[in-house]
Subunit: 385 residues, 2 copies
């Protein structure tokens, strides 16, 4: 009996040491993090016996929260209650930003590495995993511009595989600067939002195609070149050129690939395009540059400047009757704390002044994926109707 | 001209500062990392002006490599030449392990966060993205044991969607301790390995189903319980119980879900099971506990002890003629530097002593995904033939 106890104590002690398997990243001990408590406060744990200062940084906080260390070298903090949603966060360990090693939910990104906190609602939120029929999310390769191979993430609605003759409309959905083609799935949970909306009869079953907005990085990666830095400014000539490269890849490569390999309904009336941040800019530049291709246009936290509208897309405001006839939906949404709020309002004012029909949704909040989820949930029911 | 230069200098300078968008993780400046050079040396870059010590740790190194800081606060090191393959790595910043923020390729894991270095071969390696027909990788939900919802990653071979009446055999493939259902896709690249083997006529077109090996974590997550620590030892009673829970979920939930929702060929002759590390243990325990279900069994860096074979699966060695008739392939592979090498050899000796047929592949190397890729490439051609 005593021997067992000693053995157990030894084992518990061993569990507190990182397990070093030759040449593998150290498999740390088991910190449970994050842990959402019954009152919706959230406890974060991070094991770092040698760290001097550990903070929690997250989009559910107004500032970083200090964490405190216990005798085993585990840093902890409990914050909240936190309003139910999905939020990016990370630890700041002696000034270094790190993902939560104990959390598998992450924020795919070219530049930073964040984890995701999922606080569930008492009533399931629109992105909750519910007991409804689920669609499927597929990773695909397609032949892209400049002989590169592009990556797509594709949502097919519940029943797609079984309904062998049924055809579907397609929503092209583009994520933001430094995001990847995975973000609308992994962070935006559009698959679950659509599963839920379709189950409630609120959205039409549709295919959602999520490309990567950064064509230049792909070309550089595959041709061995240097990956270019972000363009200086969303309205810069370089940003416009890049958006046109994206539009070219989407229209000449992605759409033909999708329409060849998926059961799609034909024509502009069955194509929507939408995007967040840079992806919203790409949405506008792609749709306004190809007005015969998309009948539904949705921008989430994005705009074009009146100057660009005048120089690049003169006919949009110049012939509003044609524009209004082509676009069944021209949607613009932004949060009042978004750093692009003012520019977006200027864009709306420009559309209004030129009698271009649009729908807008101004919410609270900033340039966040919490807002993007709301916007997707608001726009998906308006598509293909 | 001068004004432009000054502006350019200012912009370049601004690029060196983290861009702080309210409440978002800081979007760091653009470090290109990793960069594989023409001679297959690899340069790693990490921006941390305030760090005192930054090292590179990776499975292509025998020890951590010191990095040096330039005037802009970027730490760099060039190592190699590195033998072409895909390797996990991370930076160690003042003792803190971090992923490479500039690299989108990552190692999904419950416990540590690693990035992936992909050094391409002069001749494409077996996991290379080649210009061949590609299958598709889907993320799926299935109703699991204890009314939980499980996650699967499913590979369907090229042409699956177009061949509406063709049915396929299924390979169930399970990753290791602290891995998730994504690892055989994201780290093991089994989709590309199979695309390439199928294109060369070396493997039969098959569906590959990748479940998550950690049923206990899923039940805890979804029922609000505490996530249990790893069992103490691969041969412990708890490890055996957990493997049986996994087998129960696989046999009673995953297989029926897959056979209902995919076009599968029926019966044991069209089912294979394989796994790495803990997933290899689960493979053996599932297959030996359900000998009517799988005709092909593949373990990668895993074993069962003679003691467990005697107590739990007595008939396997007790009635070798039956065993040999049921299993068309009983495959065991391990690296000579694997910490499970000795136990695996004992397992092989046990099978041999009892006249149980098996095929084995002993390679160099350790308990790594570099080896797992080799093993998958070696076994896939032997399945369903």
């Amino acid at each position: 009996m005593k021997k067992n106890k000693a053995l157990k104590a030894l084992l518990i002690c061993l569990l507190c040491l990182p397990v070093l398997v030759k040449g593998q990243p150290p498999r740390g001990p088991l910190a449970m993090s994050p842990r959402v408590n019954a009152d919706k406060t959230v406890t974060f744990n991070y094991i770092a016996p040698n760290a001097k200062d550990v903070k929690l940084s997250g989009q559910f906080l107004t500032g970083a929260a200090a964490m405190t260390k216990n005798e085993q070298g585990m840093w902890s903090v409990t914050v909240g209650p936190v309003k139910p949603d999905i939020y990016p966060y990370n630890f700041v360990v002696d000034g270094v930003s790190v993902m939560d090693p104990a959390n598998v939910d992450f924020f795919p990104n070219e530049r930073f590495k964040g984890s995701l906190l999922d606080v569930k609602g008492d009533e399931p939120l629109i992105h909750a995993l519910k007991d409804v029929p689920h669609g499927s999310v597929s990773y695909e390769y397609y032949p892209g511009v400049e002989n590169t191979t592009g990556s797509l993430v594709v949502y097919t609605p519940p029943g797609y595989d079984k309904s062998q003759n049924k055809k579907y409309p397609v929503f092209y959905l583009i994520s933001g600067t430094t995001d990847t083609e995975e973000d609308f799935f992994k962070v935006g949970r559009v698959n679950l939002i659509l599963d839920n909306l379709i189950a409630e009869g609120k959205a039409k079953p549709m295919i959602i195609v999520m490309p990567n907005g950064n064509i230049e990085a792909r070309v550089a990666d595959q041709k061995g070149g240097l990956k270019p830095a972000d363009p200086a400014g969303r309205e810069s000539e370089e940003a416009i050129t890049r958006a046109k490269n994206f539009a070219n890849d989407l229209v000449t490569k992605v759409i033909p690939y999708v329409e060849k390999n998926y059961r799609t309904l034909p024509g502009a009336a069955n194509r929507a395009i939408g995007g967040f941040s840079r992806g919203g800019g790409e949405t506008l530049r792609t749709a306004l540059g190809n007005m015969d291709k998309f009948a539904y246009v949705c921008t989430y936290s994005a705009y074009l400047s009146p100057k660009e509208m005048e120089t690049e897309y003169k006919d949009v405001a110049g012939k509003p009757a044609v524009t209004n006839q082509k676009f069944k939906l021209f949607w613009v949404s932004v949060g009042s704390e978004d750093f692009l709020y003012k520019s977006t309002v200027e864009f709306l004012d420009y559309l209004k002044a030129h009698n271009v029909n649009y729908k807008s949704l101004i919410t609270g909040g900033g340039h966040t994926w919490m807002n993007v989820k709301q916007y997707v949930a608001a726009t998906a029911p308006l598509l293909f109707k």
